[in-house]
């Protein structure tokens, strides 16, 4: 093939060269005739133009000849590489190529293995704009979370999450100081799919929201009231336990259970939030048990059941028993979410040694999402370049209550909220959210009291 190509190229080169000479000759003859016969008709400008055209043609032909010479040289070089003239040589060549492919495969496998063993760092960020009644409107660099994961071997892995919350500086005396929190830091020793022991700081498996509280995943920015005041999301604690999953005949289950330090006597009349345990200290000798089982009867339905039990007071006498249930269901473009939790608190004293603990914390929320995308927007800035952009409208009602809160104030503390929201996801992990919150409260305010407000946020995970 090479020889034939060279021959063809040389022929083309020869023809071109002849053509060039002929063209040059004819143009020169015409030029001479024109200048001799009709000199009076040709102006100086015309002659200049003609000369320029000739120069341009000359340059073009020189370029073409240079290209052709380069092609001939390249083809000649190819022809000088060893030619295959026998079956033995062909076999040798195939064997060489097989070896090269093997090396490439090894490199490829090595890269995959290194990627698997490497520590992966993902991050997600949330930036808010809040305009709540009775407060100054604010831009809020809400959080930046680093999510780390890695495997030392096929069965030894780790996970961690570090959160920077409104952290302009770490100087505790500065008004710009925010929080740096360790939300997770665990080691997992994989025994089987059904039994994966885990040690360290873990997100407690109480309710689905606490396990999956990440802003880019959720369709509304504001957390349900119960997810801050009843279940103190992000609720993590230090201890050990296991997670696992199992395929049953007609459904699939996931489960997690841990022994941890547990909630402390820092409960308040409005929240369990400040009772989250320190990571290296327990206020009593008791350890709490917490666990969740999630059942997937079909592709679109998840039912979760959670439980928590542990002593909370410094005297190690009084117990908190928590029970929760959650559901998530998808039907066509609709998605329905709901969660309920209740913590019954035995009589006991709070950390000050004087105030009695509230009797009960309970709350729930129900949320409906509708996902859609008008194809007419595909060629606009909203859709262009994105393979699956989505709009979502959301409606949520949530309520939280603290009964017999132990303070002098009369009655239960109760707060509820309607949230109406809309979001736009150019891709799944990047979302612009707009929502309005309508709050009402009785007695002590749990979260926002009776103030309504606007919340806009941008959330992304990378």
């Amino acid at each position: 093939m090479n020889i034939r190509t060279i021959q063809e190229t040389i022929s083309r080169f020869a023809l071109l060269k002849c053509g060039v000479l002929l063209k040059r000759l004819s143009i020169s003859v015409v030029f001479i005739l024109v200048t001799l016969i009709v000199p009076s008709l040709a102006s100086a400008d015309d002659l200049d133009n003609l000369a320029k055209q000739m120069q341009s043609m000359e340059q073009r032909h020189q370029r073409e000849m240079r290209d052709l010479r380069a092609q001939i040289e390249a083809l000649t070089r190819q022809q000088t590489s060893p030619a295959i003239t026998s079956t033995a040589q062909l076999q040798e060549r195939v064997s060489d190529l097989e070896e090269e492919v093997e090396i490439i495969h090894d490199d490829d496998a090595g890269i995959l293995e290194r990627m698997d063993r490497a520590v992966h760092m993902d991050l997600y960020a949330s930036i808010f704009f809040k305009d709540i009644e009775g407060d100054n409107s604010t831009f809020d660099a809400n959080k930046l979370d680093l999510v780390l994961s890695g495997s030392l071997s096929e069965r030894l892995s780790m996970g961690a999450e570090v959160e920077f919350e409104r952290t302009a500086t770490v100087d505790p005396d500065s008004s710009r100081s925010g929080d740096i929190e360790l939300e997770q830091a665990w080691l997992e020793y994989y025994i089987s799919e059904g039994f994966r022991p885990r040690f360290g700081v873990v997100l407690l498996p109480f309710g689905k929201f606490n396990l999956n509280h990440y802003e880019p995943v959720r369709d509304l920015s504001a957390r349900p009231i119960m997810m801050r005041r009843i279940i103190p999301t992000s609720w993590s604690d230090v201890g050990f336990g296991f997670s696992g999953s199992k395929q049953l005949k007609n459904s699939f289950i996931r489960y997690q259970a841990y022994v941890v330090n547990g909630l402390t006597a820092e409960l308040t009349s409005t929240s369990t939030r400040s009772a989250r345990s320190a990571f290296g200290k327990d206020n009593n000798d008791n350890k709490a048990l917490v666990g969740r089982v999630a059942l997937f009867p079909d592709d679109d339905l998840e039912l979760g059941f959670s439980a928590y039990q542990g002593k909370y007071d410094n005297e190690n006498d009084a117990t908190i028993l928590g029970l929760g249930t959650d559901v998530s269901y998808s039907w066509k473009r609709f998605e329905f979410l709901g969660e309920y939790a209740q913590f019954d608190v035995d009589d006991g004293l709070l950390a000050d040694g004087v105030t009695p603990a509230p009797d009960e914390y309970q709350g729930f929320y129900l949320q409906a999402n509708y996902h859609f995308w008008p194809s007419s927007l595909n060629d606009t800035f909203l859709g262009r370049g994105f393979s699956n952009p989505t709009f979502t409208t959301s409606l949520r009602y949530g309520r939280a209550q603290v009964r017999n809160d132990g303070t002098a104030a009369i009655g239960d503390n109760d707060e509820d909220r309607w949230t109406v929201g809309f979001n736009y996801r150019p891709i799944e992990a990047y979302v612009f959210k707009f929502e309005y919150l309508f709050n009402s409260t009785e007695n002590e305010a749990l979260e926002m009291g009776g103030t309504d407000g606007l919340l806009i946020s941008v959330n992304a995970a990378f």
């Binding site: 495969h105 496998a109 995959l112 698997d116 992966h120 993902d122 997600y124 979370d145 999510v147 994961s149 096929e154 069965r155 994989y190 089987s192 799919e193 997100l203 396990l211 999956n212 990440y214 802003e215 880019p216 995943v217 395929q247 699939f252 996931r254 592709d299 393979s387 699956n388 891709i427 799944e428 992990a429 995970a461």
Partner: protein
């Protein structure tokens, strides 16, 4: 006469193309040493949406995916995941997106399944080559009438 012959030829060509598509169902392939010979649609859905990260024997799953613009991906996602082939999924209880290993062609998927013991991929039956194993889906193979991709 000529238009009639042309019409007949056109009809036969169309018929032939139709047959080729119908008789070339999607199959799920793995390495021959994979101890499993069957996979359920639930497991497939979880594998291709990030919910199943290991085989039942503990090996990490290497999920091989076809390019977004390939028709086979649209069919597979419509049948198994019941969703848009471009849809992305978060890993369970995580803000991290599930990233399958996208190969540029079915041939590449076959080669990967041949090389990696933990790989899973899907190709057309006609693209299967020696060195990989076809898994039945819900106990049915591509020859069965009730096979999911028939």
């Amino acid at each position: 006469m000529k238009p009639v012959i042309n019409a007949l030829l056109f009809f036969l060509m169309t018929f032939d193309v139709g047959l080729a598509t119908d008789n070339d169902p999607i199959v799920v392939i793995v390495h021959p040493s994979n101890q499993f010979s069957d996979i359920s649609t639930d497991e497939l859905r979880r594998a291709y949406s990030g919910g199943m990260q290991r085989w039942q024997d503990g090996q990490k799953l290497l999920v091989l995916e076809n390019p977004l613009e390939h028709e086979i991906r649209a069919t597979f996602h419509r049948v198994i995941l019941k969703d848009d082939p471009a849809k992305q999924y978060f890993l369970p209880d995580s803000p991290v997106l599930f990233m399958p290993t996208v190969r540029s062609s079915s041939r590449s998927i076959v080669i990967y399944c041949k090389r990696f013991k933990n790989a899973i991929g899907y190709v057309r039956l006609s693209e299967v080559r020696p060195g990989v194993k076809i898994l039945t889906i819900n106990g049915l193979g591509p020859d069965d009438d009730a096979y999911i991709f028939e």
